[in-house]
Symmetry: C2
Subunit: 351 residues, 2 copies
């Protein structure tokens, strides 16, 4: 009798969550998951910029792809203009889309390369929109491969009996890691923090893990320390929005404090590093930490949770220094944070 193959859930293949359809960028609204699967339709690059800022789409690679499609929309919007004006408008769109969210690093090289390709297309009399859509499609395909291989390399570190803590939603690589562990017959369990204020853990991670078939237990963001203290956690796994060349890992706010606890209790911290560190970020100081509207910490799913008349503070990411990171699992294999720069010398995966 054949076992039924576990299915990979919706946030695995980026093409299922982000589409370019004849002048519309359709973005899966992650804020409404898991109750509702609904898409926000963007008709202009400004719509795309707003969708990124408002967290319709989240995660450093996915939002970079959305921004790329946004530039394709701009190319469609302005293609009737003289080349010089067309380029100026594209540069404006590029600037707007590029400055939506500062911490995740994928958006910057992707957008810069996209603009260059668009200029070349205009100069060559080609259809810039098509060139951009093709470019972003290729980036998504490459990103999917990075997610899959990064997840599989991380899975190689898991054993039956592992009780894994994760924070926020670590994206497609997490899904692949869990999926591979289940396929390999490893008995693992996941503990996920709810991840205030947007609850990505409670909503996205919990639902994805359940669909993959991994037993998942939700805890609030103040509980990981106690689970470490009780010896309930054997691995700690998150994604990274940015990795500097000297091994600092920036990820959703909270990642750092759980890394300190994991270190204190001798639990390895595995970072899903996707396509490696960020060439333009030599160190922690080169990673800008986004601070979002403090109002967002006063509400939970639209309900007021805080007293009136107080201040709020909402840094959306933090930075974990390399001494608290055990290993970075990338598409090119496993690296210590101390020599993550070697990623660029490692052979590209052949398949």
């Amino acid at each position: 009798m054949l076992m039924s193959t576990p299915k990979l859930p919706i946030l695995t293949n980026r093409a299922d969550t982000l589409k370019y359809e004849e002048g519309i960028v359709r973005v899966l609204d992650r804020r409404k998951l898991p109750e509702t699967v609904t898409f926000v339709d963007c008709y202009t690059y400004e719509d795309v910029a707003r969708a990124i800022i408002d967290m319709v789409i989240q995660g450093a690679p996915p939002l970079a792809y959305a921004a790329g499609y946004g530039l394709a929309l701009a190319a469609r919007q302005f293609s009737h203009l003289p080349a010089k004006v067309f380029k100026e408008r594209l540069a404006q769109a590029h600037g707007r889309l590029r400055s939506t969210r500062p911490t995740g690093a994928d958006i910057f090289p992707l957008m810069d390369q996209a603009l260059e390709l668009a200029y070349e297309a205009i100069d060559a009399g080609e259809n810039a929109e098509s060139v951009l859509v093709g470019f972003v499609n290729g980036q998504i395909k490459a990103g999917d491969r990075a997610a899959r291989l990064s997840g599989l390399h991380a899975a190689s570190l898991l054993s039956s009996g592992d009780r894994i803590l994760t924070h926020c939603f670590a994206g497609a690589a997490l899904n692949y890691m869990l999926y591979d562990a289940v396929l390999s017959g490893k008995e693992i369990e996941l503990f996920c923090t709810e991840t205030r204020p947007y609850l990505q853990g409670a909503r996205l991670t919990a639902a994805q893990a359940r669909e993959i078939g991994v037993p998942v237990t939700l805890i609030t963001d103040n509980m990981p320390g106690y689970l470490f203290y009780r010896g309930m956690i054997t691995k700690y796994v998150t994604a990274a929005d940015s990795i500097s060349l000297d091994g600092h890992v920036s990820n959703k706010i909270g990642t750092f404090q759980y890394a300190v606890l994991a270190h204190q209790f001798g639990v390895p911290f595995i970072v899903l590093g996707y396509d490696g560190p960020d060439r333009d970020r030599p160190n922690a100081a080169s990673i800008p930490i986004e601070e979002r509207d403090p109002e967002e910490v006063f509400y939970c799913r639209g309900v007021r949770t805080a007293a009136e008349g107080i201040k709020g503070y909402y840094p959306a990411f933090d930075i974990t220094p390399p001494q608290f990171v055990s290993v970075i699992a990338t598409e090119r294999g496993l690296f210590s944070p101390w020599h993550i720069k070697d990623y660029f010398q490692a052979p590209e995966p052949q398949e």
Copy 2:
């Protein structure tokens, strides 16, 4: 010109939040603060037990006082019965009220002493209800003194410029600490975690601090690590639901993880220790950690926040070992956790 004296807010004097009125125990509903100041009226000891379990009243000393009044209600309910049966019913009520919440230690000696006094009153032909109400009133008065002096001793450790992290609501002693700092002209600032799932930080601490006149900034429970990392915190202050004789501090879940971070960054952790350690708890193993209904982590103020089909885990308290505690501020002065046992030899405050 006289400065207007800052006012102490509602959760300072316990008699403002818990009243015994002719066979009714009136309990301020902390779950509805700060929006609504409303009392839950308890007509039987079982009503009081439910109010404690359902967190209408919270905090180790306040809920102990409520339980004591609950026994007074039982004395009223059963006073018409023959002495032997009356005592049996009181013992039942005592058992029920005593087993409502296991971690906070105040309830146990208070209830045991209350039952003994009630028996003596019955034997002496006295009104047991009156004896119990008088006893609990005295306990509240003593508790208020402990809170005030504990807060003042903690305040002696604060300086202008301190940026204090606190977790959950540390009760009347916190109010006195902040109040004293303000009166002394110390410029301090408070950062409070929201404290999921019940949001005592966002609702109670934030509102109390604002009323006292201390600038207060709300953060989510995953943010303290980043604030320590950035050097934004100079003191960490919480209450304790239980302190063992060897210096382990049990308090609201999350207290431990922030204590580890404070230690990592050289920030002192000041515990508001009220009336000292618990005589019957020699060590960490003797502090039972309450695990509440996991359903409670799936909701925030009544709104579903989690995916369906998953498990939840809700330990309501954690334990901080003495190596992460800098000082315990009690009614009898400041103690290192390593010699908190000396509390019992220290002179009682005279005033």
